[in-house]
């Protein structure tokens, strides 16, 4: 149960024109499952490797329970990293792989055998101890890699893209496994992913990293309801950004005057609302009603995407296909935006 504190972590690569990590700071509560989310090259794996001791930062600090671990060698930190391509030692059996960490700590062989058996049961791979890694499926290999990491009871568990190599149907099982393992063991776990669905489903809190900077660090829903800026919103599939001024609970912009939810701050800003929150038809109360020209209809099976224009503004909406049935391109479509779905990015 370790609290991880990442403080102003910066990493410059020689010859690089901008830092891989730019003063990244993050406080991770002990016992939580945190996702580091971001596109490739944003610095999330670099952060993991620094925590694990496989890379040195240019500046900044990393603390476990308040004590800095930067001076410590990788093998002494208690932070175990599981790589994306599992990297099971090819010439060792599954049991030897899982027991590796204990062997390095000079645990006695009988004890190693016992714990390995326990671990393999825990990841639901009993009886596979004598096989070679090459004889296992991708999902099984991933589980062995997890077992190999958990057996040494790390203070912090670092998972690098644990789901990226798996087929969709295997992903669900692995998500469940990671989730339940983390809850059973209570180990502070950080995992890296570029897929926001994985992050949203698995993590207690999500840290969005773009271009080496930490954008937002909150529970998953915050990225949908209260994105911190346009880039963040877009990463999560947000659309519809319009600039204007908010005053007295009303937002004035090219879309007209829209009623904001309670507690909105006054001033200049960008209003955003997610496509799935756009409602067809006008609200009886008359609040936030718009009429738009339908430009494009894209049928996606379980949903229909509509591209509309209000004056010069382009709006995207995602609606139920049945609701969209009546509309043809060129028609005028009544919409309304529930005030609770509006968010102003200042």
């Amino acid at each position: 149960m370790t609290h991880v504190s990442i403080q102003h972590l910066t990493k410059l690569y020689p010859g690089g024109d901008h830092p891989a990590l730019d003063r990244l700071s993050l406080e991770i509560e002990s016992g939580t499952l945190t996702a580091l989310l971001g596109p490739s090259g944003c610095g999330k794996t670099t952060t993991m490797k620094i925590i694990a001791g496989l890379l040195e930062p240019s500046s900044g600090d990393v603390r476990f329970d308040g004590r800095s671990i930067l001076r410590e060698k990788p093998e002494n930190r208690g932070a175990v990293m599981v790589f994306q391509n599992h990297l099971l030692f090819p010439y060792m059996s599954v049991a030897e792989n899982v027991g590796f960490g204990l062997k390095m700590r000079k645990t006695n062989p009988a004890e190693i055998k016992r714990r390995v058996g326990e671990m393999l049961d825990l990841v639901r791979l009993p009886d596979l101890g004598e096989r070679r890694p090459s004889a296992l499926s991708g999902g099984q290999q991933q589980r062995v890699a997890l077992a190999r990491a958990l057996i040494v009871q790390p203070e912090v568990l670092l998972l690098d893209e644990p789901l990226s190599n798996l087929d969709t149907h295997l992903r669900f099982g692995m998500r469940d496994l990671i989730r339940s393992l983390q809850q059973e063991t209570g180990i502070t776990t950080i995992f890296v992913t570029h897929d926001q669905e994985d992050a949203v489903v698995l993590a207690d809190r999500v840290a969005l990293i773009l271009d080496g900077q930490m954008k937002q660090y909150e529970t998953a829903d915050a990225f949908y309801k209260r994105p911190v800026d346009e880039a963040t919103a877009r990463f999560f599939g947000g659309r519809n950004f319009v600039s204007g001024t908010s005053a007295d609970g009303v937002f004035d912009s090219a879309l007209g005057r829209l009623v904001l939810p309670l507690g909105a701050i006054a001033g200049q800003g960008t209003l955003t609302f997610r496509p799935e929150n756009v409602r067809l038809g006008h609200a009886p109360s008359g609040e936030n009603n718009l009429t738009a020209d339908l430009i494009e209809v894209i049928y996606l099976g379980t949903q229909t995407r509509l591209k509309l224009s209000v004056g010069d503004m382009l709006i995207e909406a995602i609606v139920n296909p049945t609701d969209a049935e009546g509309y043809r391109v060129g028609a005028l479509v009544p919409l309304h935006l529930p005030s609770g779905a509006l968010w102003v990015i200042s």
Partner: protein, 287 residues
């Protein structure tokens, strides 16, 4: 044209050369070692040549000497080569120079290196003169015999000089292909630098190391010019003994020379066997 025929025709010239010259040469040598050569009238094979060798004290000393040379050279070269490869893995300021020198070394023939060792380590060589300069010795004879000596130190030095870059280049290529990820995993799991080398990296580079060692051992066992130049007269290395017998005025020594040649071939066959048995299987398991 069918594939099978195509393959056969492509391989034909090479197989002719190999089967004709190489295996043919071995076969003839084998036959002559049994004193069997119908073409010139020797129609009764016998084991006289082998009997003569195996009852000769000189043979055993020569065999042991050659084995000692090969074994020691191979082991020392392997250890130093792995060390050099570990050094050269990561970029640092002298790396380009050393890489270049390694490759330069590969192009220098053994004979030149052997002469260089001779001029450096003989009792009137550069090191002896340095020792005299510092007052450690008075006359050449005072300097320890490193060439023409019973322990073949000069010979081993020369082989190590040439084989460390040879093995080193192979091992380095292996290490670079492997990357550092496996060791990262091991360190992350609690292995120290030494443990991650011993339990993770070493097993991974072992197949390449073994194949290189096998080549080095066979080469050093059967090479002629280096022990001919740097070695003592008695006991002489096995190839030197074989050549001596072959060029002996007494023609009866010829089958004995053939027998020695066959024994050298057998030793390299053992090396090939070791390679097939231990290096190949490993490689398949890894890939």
């Amino acid at each position: 044209m069918s594939d099978r025929l195509k393959i056969f025709l492509l391989l034909l010239p090479a197989l002719l050369v190999i089967v004709g010259l190489f295996f043919g040469g071995l076969l003839i040598g084998l036959m002559r070692s049994f004193n069997y050569m119908p073409v010139i009238g020797l129609t009764e094979p016998n084991l006289q040549a082998y009997a003569a060798i195996f009852t000769e004290e000189e043979f055993y000393y020569s065999f042991l000497l050659s084995f000692h040379i090969s074994f020691t050279s191979t082991v020392i070269s392997c250890i130093l080569a792995v060390g050099a490869a570990l050094l050269l893995r990561r970029a640092f300021i002298g790396r380009a120079i050393i890489n270049f020198l390694f490759q330069l070394n590969l192009t220098v023939p053994h004979l030149v290196g052997a002469i260089g060792i001779l001029y450096l380590f003989s009792q009137s060589g550069s090191f002896a003169r340095l020792a005299a300069e510092f007052g450690m010795i008075a006359r050449p004879a005072d300097f320890p015999a490193l060439v023409f000596d019973p322990y073949a130190i000069g010979i081993i030095l020369q082989y190590v000089w040439k084989e460390v870059p040879f093995i080193g280049v192979i091992v380095l290529a292996n290490m670079q292909a492997m990357g550092e990820d496996y060791e990262s995993v091991a360190r992350s799991l609690g292995a120290s630098k030494w443990q991650s080398f011993r339990y993770v990296l070493l097993p991974l580079i072992f197949p390449g190391l073994l194949s290189a060692s096998v080549i080095v051992f066979a080469f050093t066992f059967g090479a002629y010019e280096i022990p001919a130049l740097l070695g003592a007269n008695y006991p002489a290395a096995l190839p030197v003994l074989a050549y001596r017998k072959y060029t002996d005025v007494d023609l009866a020594a010829r089958p004995e020379a053939m027998a020695l040649a066959i024994l050298i071939a057998v030793m390299s066959a053992v090396m090939i066997y070791i390679y097939i048995r231990y290096a190949r299987r490993r490689v398949r398991g890894v890939r």
